[in-house]
């Protein structure tokens, strides 16, 4: 009975989504205030209904209701509670329900927290949002219904794929979906602006917080997924250029570009058409990602089940929304009008460069991801595009962008002075060069390429701080005065600095962990040791382990440095009995920002074990940098300017003064 309530709530939500897609839209075209007001109510009601439905499915998992097919296929009564709950979205049907839940959540948030939005724009935005949720609700109900019953009900479930039985599953998909689906809001705003035929600085001010929110979640979600793959798969790699990873990375690149172009739009009313295009593009790439991951076109741990009808269904949704959006764009973009003028060397120019390089880099990832699929469909020839392709294309596109990043904030709007910006960055340049010189003296020319990368990271970090240093007159006035000036700077300025600093941190982690890692593979018996740098690992012996639905063995290692015990590590080999699937759990110890990583191979009958030991220099900085970037986004989000009501459209033709 409870399960049927969840199913019914979904059907009701679909009906409301259809009503919410048509009535306010009609009202907006006819100028009928009462019809437009329907939008908020339906948006909130859709959220409540889908949330109820999601709660019901979660309940079925928690109580292990094996009359529900979805629970049988993906759960087990002995599974720990955390994995019962996260198992709700650890399968195709449940994850699509989570997708829809987050979609309607964003709709409801727009309905509740956009009181200063003009009624017509709000009605249009929410009706576009309703159309998207209607399409996906239809998909869930027709092609991937999680509420199907089984009769007779089996006594036990088939358990969840062991690779997914991890805290990572509880965190990674919700974060990633909040990012993916959050892009739908900027899409809806773009479509609404095209239908309305009007766009101004206020529009950008409304869109930016939503884009920034989605971007923060997407950043966290990608970083979390990368760390999960790093510790769970046992290969010590953190990014594989797997099509599924690329599917989440492309919207991130586009959203990053959108964030920056929306600034130009907000401050100078320039790049209108481009910003609209980017908003459409970002959500299109999110939809494409959903299609790639959910359709079974790609075989990976993310593609839970392959069912061709689902792929075709999502492809249809994709074509309708992307095709529709681009047709509308082609028809209406010309009417949006020209923006403010600017010289090529200016803040606007720098942001244009940022956008060009980010979208070009995004395009290379797009080609690398889809070319094998296209080639196979057209010629039947099978190729795989892996890391070498992306190293050759994505890498060279990023280098000029990263070199340019510190210049941006130093250039004035309209017309900038590149020489003055260069002078203010002399300290950062000096710091980067010092690193190269010291590094070359210590390590010699073989590390030159890595040192260039490290110098780039230092340039980014010091360059980001230089801006705050300049604006607070650090060193030229008293410290107290600098502090007072720093506290007076808008939070968005701090946000920029922190986010740009975060890129530097991530780049440092990537370069250092790639250039200075060591990998040792050897066979060890209890009592034997292996030396990694200054640390000595001793294999102490075996410990039997068991938990939930698995049994296994862990191997205990003691790590000593100069004779003192500094850590113990226990990598595991597990066997999940229900699916008869072995897994390896690596053990990781962090020293500073570097990590020691131990993973097990086969354990022979005589106790000798193949052991893989990695030393990864500064590897933790990769994910720490992503956290710092997100913190920058959150800081910028908390800026007063974005919270307090945006100026009314009456002010829109007043040009904003250049800074």
């Amino acid at each position: 009975m409870i399960v049927e309530i969840g199913h019914y709530a979904l059907v009701l939500a679909l009906a409301l989504a259809l009503a919410g897609g048509t009535l306010p839209f009609w009202g907006a075209l006819r100028g009928d205030v009462r019809l437009m007001a329907v939008a908020s109510t339906t948006a909130v009601a859709q959220f409540l209904l889908v949330a109820l439905s999601f709660a019901v499915l979660t309940y079925a998992y928690v109580v292990s209701d094996f009359s529900v097919q979805n629970v049988v296929e993906n759960s087990h009564s002995l599974k720990p509670l955390l994995y019962k709950v996260s198992g709700v979205w650890g399968n195709h049907e449940g994850s699509m329900l989570l997708w829809v839940l987050i979609l309607v959540l964003f709709g409801a948030l727009v309905a509740m927290f956009s009181e200063n939005l003009p009624l017509k724009l709000k009605a249009l935005v929410l009706s576009v949002q309703s159309w998207i949720s209607a399409a996906f609700l239809l998909f869930v109900l027709i092609a991937s219904n999680p509420f199907l019953r089984l009769d007779p009900a089996p006594l036990q479930g088939r358990d969840l794929n062991p690779l997914l039985q991890d805290v990572g599953l509880a965190i990674h998909p919700p974060l990633l979906y909040l990012g993916y689906v959050g892009c739908s809001i900027s899409f809806a705003f773009a479509i609404a602006a095209l239908i309305d035929g009007r766009i101004d600085a206020a529009w950008a001010r409304w869109v930016r917080p939503w884009t920034l929110t989605a971007w923060c979640f997407l950043t966290l979600g990608i970083a979390m997924g990368s760390y999960w793959a790093y510790y769970e798969l046992g290969w010590g790699g953190w990014w594989f250029w797997d099509p599924v990873e690329n599917a989440s990375f492309m919207p991130w690149l586009a959203a990053t570009a959108l964030l920056h172009s929306a600034i130009v739009m907000e401050k100078r009313e320039a790049l209108k058409i481009w910003t609209i295009l980017l908003a459409i593009l970002t959500f299109s790439l999110s939809l494409l990602g959903t299609f790639l991951v959910r359709s079974g076109v790609l075989t990976s741990v993310h593609a839970f089940a392959t069912d061709p009808t689902r792929g075709i269904f999502i492809l249809c949704i994709l074509c309708v929304f992307i095709g529709g959006a681009f047709s509308l764009f082609a028809a209406r973009a010309g009417s949006l009008g020209q923006g403010g003028l600017f010289a090529p060397i200016s803040r606007e120019g720098a942001l244009v460069l940022n956008n060009l390089l980010l979208t070009a880099a995004c395009a290379t990832v797009f080609v690398g991801t889809l070319y094998p699929l296209a080639l196979e469909a057209l010629t039947g020839e099978k190729i795989s595009v892996g890391a070498p392709f992306f190293d050759m294309t994505f890498g060279p596109m990023m280098v000029p962008l990263l070199i340019a990043v510190p210049f941006g904030p130093f250039l004035a709007w309209k017309r900038g002075d590149i020489v003055a910006a260069g002078q203010r960055l002399l300290f950062a340049f000096g710091a980067a060069m010092t690193v190269v010189v010291i590094g070359l003296a210590l390590m010699g020319t073989p590390s030159a390429l890595a040192l260039f990368g490290i110098a780039l990271a230092v340039w980014l970090m010091v360059g980001a701080l230089s801006e705050i240093g300049f604006r607070t007159k650090l060193g030229r006035v008293s410290l107290a005065e600098s502090w007072r000036r720093g506290a007076g700077l808008p939070r968005s300025a701090w946000g920029t600095t922190v986010a740009h600093f975060g890129i530097g941190v991530t780049v440092l982690g990537i370069i250092a962990s790639t250039a200075w890692n060591s990998e040792t593979i050897l066979t060890l018996k209890p009592g034997e040791t292996v030396t990694v740098g200054s640390r000595v690992l001793t294999m102490d012996g075996f410990v039997p382990i068991s938990g939930g639905t698995y049994t296994g063995t862990s191997v205990r290692f003691t790590v000593r440095e100069g004779g003192n015990v500094v850590a113990t590590m226990e990598p595991e080999k597990r066997l999940y009995s229900v699916q008869n699937m072995p897994t390896t759990e690596a053990a990781i110890k962090t020293f500073g920002f570097s990590q020691l990583y131990v993973s097990l191979g086969d354990i022979s009958a005589d106790g000798s074990t193949v052991v893989r030991v990695y030393w990864k220099t500064l590897v933790a900085l990769i994910w720490l940098g992503a956290l710092v970037m997100t913190a920058g986004g959150v800081l910028s989000l908390s800026d007063r300017r974005l919270r307090v009501g945006a100026p009314k459209p009456a002010r829109r033709s007043v040009p904003l003064p250049a800074e």
Binding site: V352, P372, I383, T584, L600
Partner: protein
């Protein structure tokens, strides 16, 4: 600068970025991709010694030999041809005899496949798509093994 000149500067900047992106992609597509081959293909037309390929098939029964310090020798077969392979490292948990495998690496002068990456399945019921195709081509494809639970899973 006039509006026209400014726009021209922007357009040429965009042109330069786009052209270099296209150039990089074309260069990388000729150099940075790996072709998929089956054991029959390797025997019929061995790839050049410096060309990376992906070899897909089944791990031949009784072929896995584990040597000291993580060196593993095995053979990849598609039923008609068999290629010996060597790999150093820890194999995926689901790497087993009689199961589908995709190995990435180069073929050396003696016809030995030196793998630097070995991919197996993520779970018991999944067979790499390339392997299915290779087996279909050689007539060794038995759907009941690939689409249903794999033999090991049945033995529990």
């Amino acid at each position: 600068m006039t509006r026209k000149q400014r726009r021209l500067t922007l357009i040429s900047l965009a042109g330069v970025v786009l052209a270099s992106a296209v150039g990089l992609v074309l260069f990388a597509l000729s150099d940075g991709i790996t072709f998929f081959t089956s054991p029959s293909d390797v025997l019929a037309k061995p790839p050049a010694p410096d060309q990376r390929v992906r070899l897909g098939g089944l791990v031949e029964q009784g072929s896995i030999v584990k040597e000291a310090d993580g060196v593993v020798r095995f053979a990849v077969t598609d039923g008609r041809a068999t290629v010996p392979a060597r790999y150093v490292g820890i194999l995926p948990d689901l790497f087993r005899e009689g199961q589908g495998v995709v190995a990435e690496g180069k073929v050396d002068a003696n016809g030995l496949f030196v793998a630097d990456t070995v991919l197996a399945k993520h779970d018991e019921t999944y067979m790499p798509k390339e392997v299915v195709e290779a087996l279909k081509k050689s007539g060794e494809w038995r759907p009941e093994e690939g689409s249903g639970p794999a033999p090991q899973a049945v033995q529990r």
